[in-house]
Symmetry: C2
């Protein structure tokens, strides 16, 4: 039987060149989180399906969930996001450890949905969160990390913008406009599509949600302004924006009330990072403050603020700014040691072992090869150096290292 | 609704301490593979279910498979092992690239089976393979890597043994004993349980497979010997054993005909690494040569040799030899910078930024703290150093670094 050699729809293979790109992204994520004193954790690939159903928002818990039944009849899901898992994890230790808890993870996820550009069925995400602090300094720190990650990825100046808003401001606007609690979820979801739908479509949605003309007009004027409104609920965001400006991030940050975020659990600052490239003018990732989730697992609810960038949108960002070649062409120092003389096999093998013990990466020729063929192969494979050890070198108790870029050879003693 | 905060059966959470242990294992795997010139790849979490059903052996493809249906009605499985995926991947590029192909991956897998010690439903594995070489040097290299991984993990001398045999020898023994082709699969599976079942049970299985008393007696004598048999098919294994001894691994390696390996696709050298600890006397992982798998995806079949250690058995090995504490207690150099004076918040934040730019890991105090409370917290959390920056230091345009182990303080200029 002949089977297809392509990966399932909405997933992708990472051959070594592609792996390098993903690893570059993961390294940037990991290095920045570690620099801020965050600790890495991981949860299982699957969770009880009910933990997704218990949490509302963005259709996870609905048809996108990949579910199956285990041997014991439990309904499990491949995780579609990290937040319920990390809330479960933190609830195990929350009372016992000093706060704040600074945690991050890099993991794969799956959603059974129609694949789109930047949104595959399988995807990888960094989840970076700080638990147990209501301080606005925690919000500032999370935003700093998000910005530093963009810079660590090599993002050019003016290539991206962090747009920030606040659920608290939205709540105050809702209260001022006498939008009822029953209406807020539906209204917030409509506002979340502000830049995606036409003005008419949004007005229709808001009318359906029960808003009157006057309410819609006021709401529109709020959504279209880029000045931080002069109201009590804006004080926190004012502090956050000033802190980021003081720390030198002012050019990268702006207030934008159209940032709403789909998930219902956000209840404070919310933000998204946007690609400024004309061909990829879209949100790369986002996050915010969500203080209610701990209660899901029976404890008290605890404060949390975090964000979650994905591998694929980040890759598209790097691609749109022409940064991929720089990553994949980065030369690593790797050695090819051909077997030039079959009689020297043991010695050649020993030489490889010796060089590896020095920490070098050495690929050994498995079959006897003439030097010209060996150099040709090394060139094709992109080795940076070739170790020459033939009868002549063995007789003189030396080996030579040829630098493939410069052609220069150096000699070393070896017996 | 109150949900359980425990992970699903057969899976586990990795809080930071546990994550450190797994990362130590993954780092050892990755570093050794890179040192031998192997390139890292990754395949999707899921595959078309048929690729597991097409391949026989060890019950994968049967009830252990976790399957679900995607939006397009395709039956997919969470990967229970890497071999079919990497065979699929390599078949995309095999003809176009120079041989040999040296590949490795570190990935998570899932089997819907009864969890046992060392065998969870979700598990992580290194898969390290060399494709496109029939040279025995490839077999030697794979065995060297397996041995070097044990040494890189810090395995003490005499703590483990690599036991090796060969399907070719088994074939010749079968031929000599006139065991028919139809019987070999069933007989090989019985022999695979040589050390797990009683002598009587094995004899019963072999009788069921259609063997006569005389055949069973000869087979038993072959299985109980530890001398490499004097037959043509043993020449390859003789070369491999001599090569490993010449390279200095002799103490770690022995011939053992009871190594059969469950998977049917092995057709040359097969090996397993055993823990010698009296409380954990078991196979840690294994591998071997399998030359037929490429044909699954419509190409010609190509030579392959590889192995796959798992995270959980490796962890149990480290535990049985008391190596875990050394890993988790390894001190990393991490700094705690408390906010000693609220008026200095911006400056404190700047200092953190400056130190991070120097590559240091710095966790910032989010709320104002007295110095004693800060030192107490740093101690509890295991920070190696505390950065002291209060009114006094700010006035003198300095900050101090306190080493938490020695108590010593050093002073640095900062304005």
């Amino acid at each position: 039987m002949k089977l297809s050699n392509q990966p399932p729809k909405g997933t992708s293979d990472w051959l070594p060149r592609e792996f390098k790109i993903r690893q570059y992204i993961f390294n940037a994520w990991r290095q920045v989180c570690l620099r801020y004193g965050y600790e890495e954790y991981l949860t299982p690939l699957v969770e009880s399906a009910e933990i997704y159903r218990a949490k509302s928002g963005e259709d996870v818990g609905g048809k996108e969930l990949v579910t199956f039944t285990d041997l014991g009849g439990r309904e499990l899901s491949i995780r579609p996001e990290m937040t319920p898992s990390v809330a479960r994890l933190v609830s195990q230790i929350y009372e016992a450890v000093p706060k704040p808890i600074r945690y991050f993870s890099i993991a794969n996820f799956m959603r059974n949905e129609k694949p789109q550009r930047g949104r595959n069925r399988e995807f990888w995400q960094l989840n970076c969160d700080i638990f147990g602090s209501n301080s606005l300094n925690a919000d500032v720190e999370i935003l700093q990390i998000a910005l530093d990650i963009m810079l660590a990825l090599g993002a050019p100046k003016h290539s991206f913008k962090l747009k920030i808003s606040s659920r608290a401001i939205l709540q105050e606007v809702f209260a001022n406009l006498k939008i009822s609690d029953k209406q807020t979820t539906q209204v917030a979801r409509s506002l979340d599509k502000w830049n995606k739908l036409s003005k008419a479509a949004i007005e229709e949605n808001l009318t359906k949600a029960g808003l009157k003309k006057e309410q819609i007009r006021s709401l529109s004027s709020f959504m279209n302004s880029r000045d931080l409104p002069d109201m009590p609920a804006a004080a926190d965001l004012r502090f956050i924006l000033k802190s980021l400006a003081d720390l030198g991030y002012g050019d990268y940050v702006e207030y934008d009330p159209t940032i709403v975020r789909g998930f219902d659990y956000y209840d404070g600052m919310v933000f998204e990072i946007f690609d400024n490239h004309k061909d990829n003018n879209r949100a790369l990732f986002g996050g915010g403050r969500y203080n209610g989730l701990g209660a899901l697992f029976g404890g008290k609810s605890w404060p949390a603020v975090g964000f979650a960038p994905g591998d694929e949108t980040t890759r598209i960002f790097l691609e749109s700014w022409d940064l991929l070649d720089k990553i994949t062409e980065q030369k690593i120092d790797n050695y090819y040691l051909p077997l030039l003389n079959e009689d020297l096999q043991l010695k050649t093998n020993f030489l490889a072992k010796r060089l590896r013990e020095q920490g070098l990466s050495v690929a050994l020729g498995l079959e006897p090869q003439k030097i010209n063929k060996a150099l040709e192969y090394a060139n094709k494979q992109g080795f940076s150096r070739v170790v020459i050890f033939g009868s002549e070198e063995a007789a003189k108790k030396v080996y030579k290292i040829k630098d493939m870029a410069s052609g220069q050879e150096t000699k070393q003693a070896f017996k």
